[in-house]
Subunit: 202 residues, 4 copies
DNA sequence: CCTTAATCGAGACGGTACGTCGTGTCTTTAT
DNA sequence: ATAAAGACACGACGTACCGTCTCGATTAAGG
């Protein structure tokens, strides 16, 4: 399919892209364990040494592939002028990538728990490599905007409350092995998070 | 340390227990990847063939070892006559096993994501092999008792709300790689779950 | 095929015979290497411990099986009143067992050189366990009879000459992996051995 | 003893030679059964995978090692101008390799009958893989030379007669497990083969 | 007829070697 | 200088077979 002129030798970014694509495909199709460095190299029509020159080990390669091909989370924080709408938009934005890659692939990836951590840690808006300070910057911004509009008082909110929507989502994705539905997001926002915010404000 | 009379050959359950103990120790000390079938066999003073007669592969052995030695969750559902006290007792009970095995071991285990799923799926009161019907029977009972006392109305509670405490706990354990503190449980109960219940009742 | 009443338990010689038969069959069908103690035990509808109670190891079992089932060499030394006839009869007698078991089985056995020695050493008339003194007693008797008749003088014959026919036969069986033909025997006797005897007598 | 610069990685023929030498040494010292792939790999300071990349199994490795290190039979056919001298020289040449490796090693090798066939089939001058046409080319040449000198008439000799010396030698080596003596060769030539040739010529 | 010692049947156990496979390193040749 | 090709070092996996041991069931033999 990917006919390559013999004699033309790929290098640099072109080669790297081919490798990451191959890794992503292997990962989606066969899962973390069955994906071998050899299989990736073959699929990319290159060899292992080339992979190891770029990434120190299998994990790093997988992380790179996921980072490149896991559909990106929208970086723009919604600001609609209404907390509820912002939350809806933000959480939908978080789920969009998972919806794009489909239930099948999610299961292929998540069945191998090795990938969880990689995926989780590659949602930079939410968790940034365990550095808890920078946690939840996306959600924070939304809440700050809401405070500016007088909807809530931020000081009353603990980190644990702020991260609640994401905790629920992560729990459900892990449990059900599929992207969560719009109704679920609606319930999380309308029946859990906002009521909790209201209760906290008093 | 475990002097064994030579000439007496262990079999059946006794041998199996020795193996599972050895596996659990290896697992705790060196982690999933470094634990080899050979090392387990040697520690149990037996040989690989005996392991493979009982479990088809490393994963199955690890699962068995975890199931046996992961400290068990208390099966008795607290019933103190007060919802808040019940929740405290129940959630503390959930955390107790993790506290017993210690942060070091938790990290050893959880750093190897292969083990996550096994651990998570071996907390039977909470998640029973993804069969969502039986989900949260422990929490359910507590809430039913509270309803009988007139503290809450159960009908207003969705499954998602009922599983909320566990979702938070799981999220935090995964994120922080240690058993969560008593203060955290207090906050989950007093600042999140009970306020949410109250808010839901109206 | 070998229906056995359940509840009747074989022992002693009956059981032993069944085992040796099973071993012989396994040996003929699958060869020395592929024959396992387990397979023999199963075919004899018994178990390994019973085998090891009788024979110390696989080799001994095989030797016993071969000794029992390798068709026996005729023990009677021909005495026709004529050296040439005696030799014909004697050598034919040596080959008869090999002819009986057939080329196919010979190859099955001889392809596994482990069995050579066993077979060779189980032709007691000719070679008795390497004890060279007793070597060639059969041939010796024939030659002695010939001497009594005045056909030859025994004193001129060295052991090497006396064992010559058998050396040739062994060489050819090993080389060709089949019982040697009647023509071969004729040539050995008429074109080699008797001319050599004659030449030696002068 | 075999100091190897670390950092220089052996490959190809050099490595292969080291392996075959290690195999030969293991074989001579400990015999076929006790020689393990692991022990050979260790002695050659490499690992099993390298062995299995070259030879499919233990047998093939042993064959290769024997073929390489079993002292070679002299390829030059003696031509002294005298049949008897030629025969002496030729048969002595055949035995020389066996003498070189010594009785001890011969027994070590031959006690393991697996090795017989390998050894026998690696005496190419004499038996070439059972292809009977090419049989005995060495002996044939000697006899042809003798015919040219008018010592014998080749047409009267059957293949069985021509291979007689080798048959006797093989028989005795197998039986006695040691290289045969010079006296034995003398007897084979002077008391058996030449008299037989003479007898055949008339 | 009943007890007892020996053997059988069944299968687990201890030990060792085999052959495979995957990761990560290194060498050689070609571009 | 880097790509391509592939061998090498290391070490774990899972399998197979030998020979030993355990335990309960059965049977021959003796009191």
């Amino acid at each position: 399919m990917n006919e390559q002129k013999k004699g033309t030798r790929r290098r640099g970014e072109i080669l790297e892209d081919a490798i990451l694509l191959a890794a992503w495909e292997e990962l989606s199709e066969t899962g973390y364990t069955n994906m071998t460095m050899e299989s990736v190299a073959m699929r990319a029509r290159t060899n292992k040494a080339v992979l190891y020159r770029r990434w120190n080990n299998k994990t790093e390669l997988v992380m790179a592939a996921l980072r490149k091909h896991l559909p990106k989370i929208k970086n723009d924080i919604p600001n609609t002028g209404d907390l509820r709408s912002d939350l809806y938009a933000y959480l939908h934005g978080l789920m969009e990538p998972l919806k794009l890659i489909g239930t099948q692939t999610i299961r292929g990836l998540l069945m191998e728990p090795m990938v969880w951590r990689i995926i989780i840690s590659s949602m930079p808006q939410v968790i940034e490599k365990r550095s808890e300070n920078k946690l939840m910057t996306g959600m924070m911004e939304i809440l700050k905007n809401a405070e500016l509009r007088g909807e809530i008082k931020l000081e009353k909110l603990t980190p644990r409350i702020i991260s609640l929507p994401w905790a629920i989502i992560q729990y459900e994705v892990i449990t059900k092995l599929e992207p969560i539905s719009d109704e679920a997001i609606a319930e999380i926002v309308d029946d859990i998070f906002i009521p909790l915010l209201r209760a906290t404000q008093q």
